[in-house]
């Protein structure tokens, strides 16, 4: 790709290094809280580990992948070097420094508040400052994505913005707006308490602001996978994208609907009026639309590929697809996990059904299946797809890569399906140990042990990933063709202006946020019930 290879590689390597370390912690956590291990006598070690695992895998890893993939898309799809590469390196440096600062604070044992912060708990200020640095670094990326698309459009009037760039910039806009909630929470509520400037935290307002970020951040993680679904997979499968316009509709719908739905994380919170909970439930249901559009378009695109490859009959095209290509296999496995996780998600977002599984291990199972499974497996596939273009070395052994993807898929199901089951039995989440001698928990013990085995399958898969990427980079150098993107069946037909830019949709996103979050946030300025004393988790207070 034109320039930027080193920049993208730096992002991917840092992301995968952080990822691999966190998977070790994840496997350890699953083992120590299962019946296979005696109780931890220092539960703080468990929470310290969970904090490092969550902070890395929620804030550092996906952000770096979105950034690196975004730069790669921008340079290759616009077919020219990225404008502002020095700023991009500055953003990378901020993410690196912030991640190091946060994780050192966690390792020191003074920041075991879990990555969702849980005020009124307060940790070492360095923990929060590190996360702020990571977010600010990612804003450099978002600004560069928007800027590069703008100047390209100005220099190419009337031309359609490549779909991959359109999707990436939609994600950048979404991220800038969605990260504002947690940034406000940290800067105005948690940090002042952590620094000792205030003695209390408005827990209700903190949770409301975090929910602003908490759900949309999931779509920020998801959209790079969707860019791959639409722009890379149909070409890799040997076909065409079924509809470029449909893909754009999906991206703008995510932009608009990702934000005004976060209160479905607060169904049990008394400070939010039930009307707003209902409102957010309905908007959350709206996300079904872009999700099902994607399932349809992607399946149609794969069917085109399968039939072009000689597949016959109602389902024969499925067998004709090139399942030995990592990104095609990853897409198939991802769709299975997306389907299962999506079905569970419908339960989470229903105001009444939610009470069955609220704060149980079901929820942990849900987000591991959707993010750790359906999304992260596409991150692997993106890396495999980009690696030859970034390094100039071919991917050594697509077979091994397929093994790695299969292991991840199996491991993730072995981890998360038992979690869903024990969640339905009532197992609470965020527990360092369970009393397995209690007959009431005996039925859950086997399931928890099984899921711990899944954790180690995932660990093997993560090691394989690193081995494959390292081996490929050390291999012989070859001439690699330029990275190209899928062509669409409707490439020739006219594109509505509204689907070639994002300003209108970003405006709608902000307007809906104001409607759906305006009062729940404003109420904290005149209702003062929520302020509670800060609780420091510093080991020696």
């Amino acid at each position: 790709m034109p320039g930027s290879s080193r920049l993208v590689l730096a992002h991917f390597w840092l992301a995968f290094a952080a990822f691999a370390g966190s998977i070790v912690l994840g496997a350890w956590q699953m083992w120590v809280r299962s019946p296979l291990h005696p109780w931890l006598t220092d539960a703080e070690l468990y929470y310290r580990s969970v904090t490092a695992h969550g902070t890395t895998l929620a804030y550092v890893f996906p952000t770096l992948i979105a950034m690196g993939f975004g730069y790669a898309v921008c340079a290759s799809a616009l077919d020219r070097p990225l404008r502002g590469e020095r700023l991009a390196w500055a953003g990378f440096a901020l993410v690196l420094a912030g991640a190091a600062m946060s994780l050192l604070a966690v390792a020191g044992g003074n920041s075991s508040v879990l990555y969702t912060f849980y005020p009124p708990l307060t940790a070492s200020p360095f923990y929060y400052l590190g996360i702020v640095l990571v977010v600010v670094g990612s804003w450099f990326w978002a600004g560069l994505m928007i800027y590069n698309m703008r100047i390209w459009k100005r220099e190419h009037p009337g031309e359609r913005v490549p779909l991959a760039v359109f999707g990436t910039v939609a994600n950048a806009l979404l991220w800038v707006w969605t990260s504002v909630g947690a940034a406000l929470e940290i800067l105005f509520l948690i940090l002042p308490a952590a620094l000792g400037w205030t003695s209390g935290v408005d827990a209700g307002l903190s949770r409301t602001l975090f929910s602003w970020t908490l759900h949309a951040i999931v779509y920020f993680w998801l959209l790079p996978a969707y860019v791959a679904f639409y722009a890379l997979v149909p070409r890799a499968a040997g076909g065409r994208l079924y509809s470029d316009r449909m893909a754009r509709v999906v991206f703008v719908l995510f932009l608009v609907l990702a934000m005004p739905i976060g209160i479905h994380h607060l169904f049990a919170d008394p400070h939010i009026g039930e009307g707003f909970k209902f409102l957010h439930t309905v908007f959350t249901a709206g996300v079904v639309i872009p999700t099902l559009l994607t399932v349809f378009t992607l399946t149609a695109s794969l069917e085109i590929a399968g039939r072009l490859r000689g597949g016959q009959g109602l389902l024969g095209w499925i067998a004709a697809l090139p399942w030995d290509r990592p990104i095609v296999l990853a897409t198939g496995l991802s769709l299975v996990m997306l389907g299962l996780g999506g079905a569970g998600g419908l339960i989470n977002m229903s105001y009444t059904l939610n009470s069955t599984i609220h704060n149980t291990q079901w929820v942990t199972g849900h987000f591991h299946l959707i993010f750790g499974g359906a999304v992260v497996i596409m991150y692997f596939a993106i890396a495999y797809e980009l690696w030859p273009h970034l390094t100039g070395h071919p991917l050594r052994s697509a077979r091994l890569a397929c093994w790695q993807l299969w292991l991840w898929f199996v491991g993730m199901l072995v981890v998360t399906l038992p979690w869903h089951a024990v969640g339905l039995m009532g197992q609470p989440r965020r527990m360092a140990y369970y009393d397995w001698s209690d007959p009431a928990l005996a039925a859950q013990g086997h399931l928890v042990s099984a899921s711990a085995v899944g954790g180690f399958i995932l660990l093997v898969s993560a090691v394989l990933l690193i081995v494959i990427l390292l081996r490929s980079q050390g291999g012989p150098r070859v001439q690699v063709d330029a990275l190209t993107y899928a062509r669409a069946l409707d490439d020739g037909s006219p594109l509505p202006r509204a689907l070639n830019g994002l300003a209108v949709w970003a405006g709608l996103m902000i307007a809906l946020t104001v409607v759906n979050y305006g009062y729940p946030i404003a109420q904290s300025f005149f209702l003062q019930h929520n302020k509670v004393p800060a609780q420091s988790v510093l080991r020696a207070p």
Binding site: G275, Y433, V532, Q535
Partner: protein, 249 residues
């Protein structure tokens, strides 16, 4: 255009259902439609506010951990406190390390802990024929100053436990009996406001207080958490815990 209208219609319908229709149908609806709408938005009518129903005599303590209480508890002046502390020194030691086993060490105890106990003695929520008269005439500021004074001394040395693993009750509790681990509130696993550090405290004092919580003779724990735990412990467990934390002779 039709699409926009349809989307707008869905939004309007959602508002009507969520803020008017469903709230009006609720069983616990009090008042009219307007009250129902206000509740759905999150504004409770004043009468609907939940108020504490305990009569004052039944509440375990007069201390509420509000920001104002914390500000007050942390506003003490150790210098002024030392002038008031002369009377304390007889039992608790001039530097907060008491000479006899029956009286607790105070040195190095967090100000919030000392503030709450002194306030509880003054209000009679914690009974003591010695402490109640001594605290009866203290002001809030006196209490904060005394807390600052004793908190500033170095805490007693932690007893040597070479090679001994902490009892399970300390580190993991006993979930089957709903007993939370001591260390979750008293440190080092967690530190809860108002929960004193225990290591190095007087053994006999710890045993007396645990027994008092178990019988209900002491009842100034805000959410009855100490009475719950102490009742579930056997007498020998209470003894062992006092021994684990307590100052070794």
């Amino acid at each position: 255009m039709t699409g926009w209208l349809a989307a707008a219609a869905v939004v309007v319908a959602t508002f009507l259902v969520g803020f008017v229709w469903l709230p009006a149908l609720q069983d616990n609806a009090q008042g009219g439609l307007w009250d129902a709408i206000c509740r759905a938005v999150g504004i409770s009518p004043p009468a609907g506010l939940v108020r504490a129903t305990l009569a004052p005599a039944q509440s375990p303590t007069g201390v509420v951990w509000s920001s104002a209480t914390l500000r007050l508890a942390r506003s003490g002046d150790a210098q002024r406190g030392s002038a008031l502390a002369a009377v304390c020194a007889g039992c608790h030691g001039a530097k907060g390390i008491s000479a006899t086993d029956a009286f607790p060490n105070l040195a190095g105890t967090p100000v919030e802990v000392l503030y709450k106990q002194l306030d509880d003695y003054r209000s009679g929520k914690r009974k003591s024929p010695i402490m109640q008269p001594l605290t009866a005439n203290l002001t809030d500021q006196n209490i904060a100053d005394l807390a600052a004074h004793f908190s500033a001394f170095p805490a007693p040395a932690v007893p040597s436990r070479a090679g001994a693993a902490a009892p399970a009750l300390v580190t993991v509790g006993s979930p089957l009996r709903s007993i939370a681990p001591c260390a979750a509130c008293h440190g080092p696993l967690g530190h809860k406001l108002g929960a004193p550090p225990l290591a190095g405290q007087k053994r006999a004092y710890l045993k007396t207080e645990l027994d008092a919580f178990a019988t209900g003779a002491r009842a100034n724990d805000i959410n009855e958490q100490m009475r719950e735990v102490a009742r579930a412990l056997t007498a020998s467990e209470r003894d062992a815990l006092a021994g684990w934390y307590g100052e070794r002779p």
